[in-house]
Symmetry: C2
Amino acid sequence: MGALLQEGEESPFIAVNEEGRSPFVLICEHASRTLPKKLGTLGLSEADLHRHIAWDIGAENVGRLLSRLIDAPLLLQRYSRLAYDCNRPPESPDAIPELSELTAIPGNRKLSPEDRLARAREIYRPFHDGVSLVLDRRAAAGLRSLVVSIHSFTPIYKGKPRAVELGILHDRDTALSSKLIKSFPNVEARLNEPYGPKDGVLHTLNMHAFARGLQHAMIEIRNDLVATERGQDEWAQRLSVPLIQAATK
Amino acid sequence: MGALLQEGEESPFIAVNEEGRSPFVLICEHASRTLPKKLGTLGLSEADLHRHIAWDIGAENVGRLLSRLIDAPLLLQRYSRLAYDCNRPPESPDAIPELSELTAIPGNRKLSPEDRLARAREIYRPFHDGVSLVLDRRAAAGLRSLVVSIHSFTPIYKGKPRAVELGILHDRDTALSSKLIKSFPNVEARLNEPYGPKDGVLHTLNMHAFARGLQHAMIEIRNDLVATERGQDEWAQRLSVPLIQAATK
């Protein structure tokens, strides 16, 4: 047991369909709103702990359905991003946010270096070690990997509504995103919206995909579109064919 | 024990002066020409195993002297890059080279997926896990880190002599390299020579520094200049003040 996770609490890394035969490896860093027991509620209300500040609403299910449709491995993170945002490095103030959108997170204030290190060592690092090992195994077996992370975003941010429905995010390597963006003519789809590399959201992909020379893209779906099972199924379907086509052409 | 390293063989990761108070973290992936016992000589002669194809001649000692001069942590890799080149991802054919410069490496030919995975899991991954943990600890403690890797290159490559004496290598983030290059007016110092990002040599720095938003640079010294202790000492001295200045201005 570590300083944060207690006996009976599971590893942050969950691999679904790890032997899936797609060249895509799907990642969902913000799948869950579960908090490690030791953190209690972080001083937040039940209502806040269900909001998008705690997790990417609908993203896990879109990922699971898409994983089945295209037979791809899906790598999920088990804990809320309020405990540690696994798409941020330990240097980032957003890794353990004291403020998320407009909500103060009392349980993340005035942490000691030991508290910060425990969050990084017991959530961030084991999750990314899991991702590394899956990619290492595939490389050793001579399998091609393209890495796609699945996220959702809130339709209203700091009081302002967002028109974009689907964001395809990239940093320097645009190979995959430039193909994907053409596949959604009837959707409000935009490159690097509502976030982009300057917001630090390409961390996971820069570390695991860019640094290894693997094609990659980050998918952001507006969460009102994937709040229900019907919406999750619709978007998994919508994403499946463009991904398969982007991998082959 | 793993499939590669045997009882009594040590971890690939060596941390020297880990509590050093410099903002710089020095890395030397090619410090050593030691081979894991199980690999024997990889089918090479003793003479070949002393050449630059096995390690970066002089780099470890430049790193150790520089670590002392500026009080910086130095992270060394214990095994020869002929076993696994820790500055390459498992996807790269150069990670476990079948040919290095003009020399065939018989012991790296026709490896099974299991052999490849053992090299990655027992050399590459533990080394980089060690680097990650050092950077995680520093971040949790609120310490700033700038990452500099120390390499050396052969004066004659594929029969052609090289005039450059000092290479300062960068990929997209030029903040540190653009300062350092100005500090060597009387040396044949060049940016992105004799290698650059297109040769895949920025792997370690892209993964550990760029992805975390840390300033970084790769230092390449022509190995005839650092083959002796006197040369190693000279270059550690030459590098020390420009680094200290680059961190403060």
